[in-house]
Amino acid sequence: MSSNELDSETKLMAVIGDEDTCVGFLLGGIGEVNEQRQSNFMVVERDSSAADIEACFKRFLAREDIAIIIINQVYADLIRATVDAHVLPLPTVLEIPSKQQEYDSNKDSILKRANQFEIPWRCSCIT
């Protein structure tokens, strides 16, 4: 049932990031504001709190038409527990580096899970 819906629907990408990141992706052409004036991007200002980001992240997770959520790693770190708690395949959460901060793969929720698998394999290879 739901897989059939997947096929017919076209989905959007969402961005949570600093102003520059958002501007970049909007110029790339992923921005959309729907009839309810809900945008699929969130510009994190200097005075935005972690709660704001979390609320927005959850709102994006709940939206049916969003398949990919792009989030700056700095802000993903602020709401790490929420990001880690999201284990469903859809929507996918992608952590990207921001302009100020390098990308640290050790913090990425997915790669953390990936590393969990990596280690037992290596052990099994040795033994």
């Binding site: 629907e9 076209t10 959007l12 990408m13 102003e19 052409g29 395949p89 394999w121």
Partner: protein
């Protein structure tokens, strides 16, 4: 789990056949599931490798994109607010397709361009070239991210399915098959017991019969000594056929 954990079944030949069939079924299922788990695991490792590769590539692409944004800003001034305010419809959208690995459907994302560029006129006054480059850079970044997202979704889905499959394999291997084995052993021991009982019973009957015959013979001999010959007398109960069994 105790050693007495077995299926509640009456020990009979029929039940034994049934259990044998179930054991064969369980072993077949175990083999198939194991194969499925292996196939998934293979795909999983491949995806894992690709994810790590793409993530590193993403760092470079994002860096380049951010740099071109700085370039564009340098030439055309602060365009942030213009861009943020003029959002209407998404130009790049995502289509989901499905890929099939050993019966598991993996969603695959595909980006496609739809509709006109909202920011066609941005940078008309100055810095148009830089803006065009910026757009191109971010579009390629989006493409890469979409690819990465597909990989990541596949990763999460496969992770889940592999866990379930392994759980099933282990359950069959360590719970279901031993239980059927124990049931079979129980049935066989019960059947053996019945057979021994039957054998003993038959032996006992033979003994009794022999005893009875000896007694009769002794009586006949005694009567013969007294002058009565009963050897040729027909028994009215004897119909002429010997005991079929003994």
């Amino acid at each position: 789990m105790s050693g007495k954990d077995r299926l509640p079944i009456f020990p009979s030949r029929g039940a034994q056949m049934l259990m044998k069939a179930r054991l064969a079924g369980a072993q077949k299922g175990h083999g198939l599931l194991k194969k499925k788990a292996d196939a998934l695991q293979m795909r999983f490792r491949m995806i894992l490798g690709k994810i790590i590769e793409t993530k590193t590539l993403m760092g470079d692409v994002m860096k380049e994109a951010a740099f071109s944004l700085a370039e564009a800003k340098f030439t055309s001034g602060d365009i942030n607010q213009v861009v943020l305010q003029n959002v209407t419809k998404a130009q790049i959208k995502i289509r989901t397709k499905k890929d099939n690995v050993a019966g598991v459907t993996l969603p695959v994302f595909e980006s496609y361009q739809d509709g006109a560029d909202t920011y066609e006129l941005a940078g008309l006054a100055r810095g148009g070239q830089q803006l065009a480059k910026l757009k191109k850079n971010y579009q390629s970044a989006v493409k890469l991210l979409v690819e990465l997202a597909s990989l990541q979704t596949s990763f999460v889905t496969l992770d889940e399915v592999i866990k379930i499959t392994n759980r099933r394999v282990n359950a069959i291997e360590h719970v279901i098959i031993p239980r059927i084995d124990r049931t079979l052993a129980y049935i066989i021991s019960e059947l053996d017991e019945l057979e021994r009982e039957e054998f003993y019973r038959l032996k006992k009957i033979q003994d009794k019969k022999r005893e009875a015959r000896q007694k009769a013979d002794a009586k006949k001999a005694e009567l013969l000594q007294q002058g009565i010959d009963v050897r040729q007398q027909a028994n009215i109960l004897d119909e002429g056929d010997d005991d079929v069994l003994f």
